[in-house]
């Protein structure tokens, strides 16, 4: 099945979930609703897209789009040498998606990264914890409403004083 046919069959089988299909630099992008993304990705996997090249997210707060967040799946088929991008849109009130770790093992850490930096949860993920920020970190820094300089994280450390030496020295 060619990529066009695969996408056509996805559009047919999941007409409710597929929002749009666009093309950029010769590559197909399938825009879907967050709810139906798992079965669509499963279909792509069954059609030969055996490799999840990347899983990332976009905050559309200032960009516009179907919803606030888009989780982007870059798929690659080694068999047919084809790439396809799937964008799953979710709103900020309920940012939950099904985990695709069961389809591609590499999604494990990438979903943790998206969870850490965007605050998007993944259902049925084996260990959804922060991967880069400290465990006690509050907030999701790649969201556009997160201040660049952070809140108080970078000044929130104990101050270590000089030891016995120079205690009585005037500096």
């Amino acid at each position: 099945m060619s990529l066009k046919e695969t996408i056509a069959s996805v559009k047919e089988s999941f007409s409710e979930a597929v929002l749009d299909v666009t093309e950029c630099s010769g590559e197909q992008i399938v825009h879907v609703k967050g709810d139906g993304v798992f079965s669509i990705l499963q279909l792509f996997k069954d059609e030969g897209f055996d490799f999840l090249a990347d899983l990332t997210a976009v905050d559309n707060m200032n960009l516009g789009g179907f919803e606030r967040f888009a989780v982007v799946y870059h798929l690659l088929s080694h068999k047919f040498l084809m790439r396809v991008t799937v964008k799953a849109y979710i709103n900020e009130k309920n940012p939950i998606l099904p985990s695709v770790e069961s389809l591609w093992k590499t999604a494990d850490w990438q979903e943790r990264e998206v969870y850490d930096l965007f605050g998007i949860s993944f259902e049925n993920h084996p260990d959804l914890t922060r991967i880069m920020n400290p465990e006690a970190f509050d907030g999701h820094p790649l969201r556009k409403d997160y201040p660049r300089k952070g809140r108080t994280e970078r000044i929130d450390f104990p101050q270590v004083m000089r030891g016995i030496k120079k205690e009585n020295k005037t500096e």
Binding site: N133, R148, E153, F157, P158, Q159, V160
Partner: protein, 165 residues
């Protein structure tokens, strides 16, 4: 004057315990490199042949804080690394000195973001700052000489206040 007295005069040197201790300390500083970025790579050049800090007795790089007395913070310190740096500093035995090497360790440099500490001197005491991004090896050697000056002015009486805090 007898010859034995001459021997004594030409073989015994008198000094104060303070100068003797400081002389020993300043000429055998053992650096603990805390290299987290390009400054760490640049620090290796300081150890290499051209600027060789073995000339100043500081070539014994110790990767254990318990065996060192000069902490060289070389590179940007992130949120996750700051507790580690504080722990390393606290593990070093007194007396100890700290060099903040480069723009990132001193001020955060160009990384004015939530995850980069804007100067390690907010949390640990720093003795000498080395500007540069990264500093020239000569700059690091200069900082070493400044630290040696500091060591030389140390008073032994400072150490008697161990329980004053």
């Amino acid at each position: 004057m007898s010859s034995s007295q001459d021997d004594i005069k030409s073989n015994i040197l008198t000094t104060t315990i303070e100068s003797a201790v400081n002389w020993g300390r300043k000429n055998s500083l053992w650096p603990m490199p805390f290299g987290t970025a390009c400054c760490g790579i640049e620090f290796m050049a300081v150890l290499a042949a051209r600027t060789d800090i073995a000339r100043f007795g500081a070539e014994a790089i110790r990767f254990s804080p318990r065996q060192s007395d000069l902490l060289i913070v070389a590179g940007r310190i992130s949120l996750k690394m700051m507790p580690v740096l504080i722990r390393i500093y606290e593990q070093m035995p007194e007396p100890k000195w700290v060099v903040s090497m480069g723009a990132c360790a001193s001020t955060g440099g160009v990384f004015d973001t939530y995850s980069v500490i804007q100067g390690v001197d907010q949390f640990i005491p720093v003795d000498v700052y080395v500007p540069g991004c990264p500093p020239r090896p000569e700059g690091v050697v200069e900082s070493l000489l400044k630290i040696q000056e500091l060591v030389d002015t140390d008073k032994l009486s400072d150490y008697e206040l161990s329980n004053s805090k």
